[in-house]
Subunit: 433 residues, 2 copies
């Protein structure tokens, strides 16, 4: 028998399977539950103990991790008569890693108390980093909990996260989910922006691989662009690695939370409507890198560009301009929402710069935006003029070729709202009226 504590695990999807099998490799006896039998078989082959009953997976487990897809899945798994919580031993540590609304994790905390299970040490700990980092135990984890619960569960969060990638967020239960939410503002926008950029480029007559090479070293870079390009350039969408429904779920958490607190999540809302339109086309289960098909049916890596070298150069620049302008505004939208919901801004900056929401523009402009929102500088410098002009060039060209730029035009109109001030402070004031 292992000297390491036994762990229960619910939700063996792409992320959960990686996390659970990583713990197995580290020598923990892990009992895993999933509703999908092939996942249980796969988990058993990887050395885990499969369980076909939720309560059996939780019985006698002092540590339990939930990694299902949504609050709608988590609620019955946790609280049904034959669910996890009823089966957990006294004083167990329960970690919810799913991306859910912060209001939901607060409701879990309350329900534990209401049912007389406040002995359970509950941790709100959504993750970021994708299936590869899940399997390597190098995730970014955003955790909120009471200090007592954190003391109990921190070692386990450390097992699953990379060094310096465990972000313990002040504010208790809900703070982890809020941190994840504001991070996903960047993800929600930047997953669409890369598709919009490849789509615009295709309609300008540019080859996708050339676009990839150009964007990588430019101000238009984002983690999502680099990551998703691996699938965009191979049309690896069926199913690929991250379905449209997943980013849509996170996007809807952002926009509904924003509505309820009166925050204008402008570009996230644009992205959400486009994701809905992709569902309507039947693309929900396809990889989100396949949204480029909204612009062109042609494989972007196979486009033979007939442009002159000079023309190409000019058009590459337009694509970079588009991404740069969108990412400048996505930085403002995420940082403003972080401020609005009380997330510590420097911690958010540290996390996002080096996570899936990262972008060159976030890194460059985000620090100054935070400094402005913290009152350390007035932010009245007229720094936006250049970005507005270059984004205008992209939008004008798209208009001439009748190419929709949902985010590009949305970002431009927010930038134009800064009027003659052209300042970061004016841009932030679109979000913090």
């Amino acid at each position: 028998m292992s000297s390491k504590p036994a762990i229960g695990f619910c939700g063996l999807g792409a992320m959960g399977m990686g996390m659970a099998t990583h713990l197995v490799k580290q020598g923990y006896p892990v009992t895993g539950f999933d509703v999908y039998p092939p996942s249980l078989n796969k988990f058993e082959s990887a050395g885990g103990t499969p369980s076909s009953s939720l309560s059996a997976s939780a019985k006698d487990k002092s540590f339990y991790i939930v990694m299902v897809a949504s609050a709608m899945q988590a609620q019955p798994a946790l609280f049904d008569e034959e669910g996890i919580v009823k089966a957990l031993p006294k004083g167990a540590t329960l970690i919810l890693c799913s991306t859910v609304p912060s209001a939901y994790v607060k409701s879990v905390e309350k329900e534990l108390v209401d049912m007389g299970r406040d002995d359970v040490f509950f941790i709100d700990a959504p993750v970021s980093g994708g299936a590869g980092r899940a399997a390597d135990g190098t995730l970014s984890i955003m955790a909120g909990a009471s200090s007592a619960a954190m003391e109990k569960g921190k070692w386990l969060l450390e097992e699953m996260s990379a060094p310096k990638k465990l972000f313990i967020v002040e504010g208790g239960i809900g703070a982890g989910s809020n941190m994840k939410m504001v991070h996903q503002v960047l993800a929600a926008i930047q997953i669409l922006s890369l598709n919009e950029a490849y789509g615009f480029a295709a309609r300008l007559g540019l080859n996708g691989k050339d676009v990839y090479d150009t964007v990588l070293g430019s101000k238009g870079w984002s983690w999502m662009f680099e990551n998703r390009s691996q699938r965009t350039l191979k049309e690896d969408y069926f199913p690929g690695a991250s379905a449209v429904t997943i980013i849509l779920k996170d996007t809807s958490i952002i926009t509904s939370m924003s509505r309820s607190v009166g925050f204008p999540a402008t570009l996230c809302s644009v992205a959400e409507q486009v994701y809905f339109s992709a569902l309507d086309r039947g693309w929900g289960a396809n990889d989100d890198a396949g949204l480029v098909r909204l612009w062109t049916p042609e494989p972007v890596a196979k486009i033979e560009s007939k442009l002159s070298a000079e023309d190409k150069e000019a058009k590459f620049q337009l694509v970079v301009n588009l991404l740069t302008g969108i990412h400048l505004v996505s930085a403002a939208e995420s940082i403003s929402l972080a401020k609005h919901v009380g997330i510590p801004l420097p911690q958010f900056y540290d996390l996002a710069c080096d996570a899936a929401g990262g972008s060159t523009m976030f890194k460059e402009a985000g620090e100054r935006m935070i400094s402005i929102l913290e009152g350390k500088e007035d932010g009245k410098g007229r720094v936006l003029g250049g970005y507005i002009e270059t984004l205008k060039e992209a939008v004008s060209e798209a208009q001439a070729i009748k190419c929709p730029l949902y985010l590009g035009t949305g970002a431009l109109n927010l930038l134009l709202q800064t009027g003659s001030g052209l300042s970061l402070a004016a841009l932030l004031s679109c979000y913090m009226p």
Copy 2:
């Protein structure tokens, strides 16, 4: 021979045919030109004189009307070697009724001078009202010109317009086109809003005819809703009466002009991207009332609603909320742009209330918006709260059923930008930073 002066006419499309044949009925000898032979035949049957040459249609005509589709068509028609201007007699009056950018009509004025034809009395006179009113001679006409030119041509504009529907706009050449442009802000948004409303209603399980009856007497009414419903409810889209490409052309005039003057035409830009996406589906030549197919392939008038009376009532209200919220913001967008380009606001209000851009919300809120922009009241009253809450209800429900609301979410985010102020002044400041 008629005692009335001979008139030349170029462009016998849906609008132009109505205008030219109306003049024929009034007893004018009209010589009409079109590139499409069947239109010439039709015009001849209606008593007009067809001409297969532009220069022949202009020779000896002291009055000439151009009603082609775009600046791109107008330019060669006017200025080619065998075009209109070269053939016009000295001192002729030339009226351009097409909807074109104001910069274009200014370039025509300049080109007339440059080629030594400043003897031509040129009038910038776009129209509104649709093919029916064109044929009745009851159009709304927005005209700008020098006072000398206006003196020459006013009688002819009066022939084509309804009593009190000839709006002579101060500012000379360009002012008529600018007035038309700001009017089309309402049209561009409200053509999409009616489709979004019918689409949302369909996905809520409501029958289109019931929606029509409900909206007609509600705050969600618009002229466009009432007008286009006649085709929506019969799927009369092929080709219907007004192609997507027509409103798209006008929308692109608005957004490109706005970009060039630094105005954030936020909802018009949203509409433009959706119109582009309709082109991508091959719907450019279909009636714009057919855009509802972006939401549902089902004929909306044939939806059998299975909802209880109470449920229906609640869902009708959501549809009305959606339209009301969008039209409130479209009023702000159009009036702010009017102010930005120097259009007299009370004249714009008079025109738009009773033209194709009219809506209940424009009529109700527009007057106060103008009063605020003219400095007659401060506009700090917290009047927006109710509209924000009701629009939120619509957007929340749409999110729950995964129904895209491009304009609804765009309008809500602009309203949320008013923060805790909740005032019309704060809404207008999104447009007039």
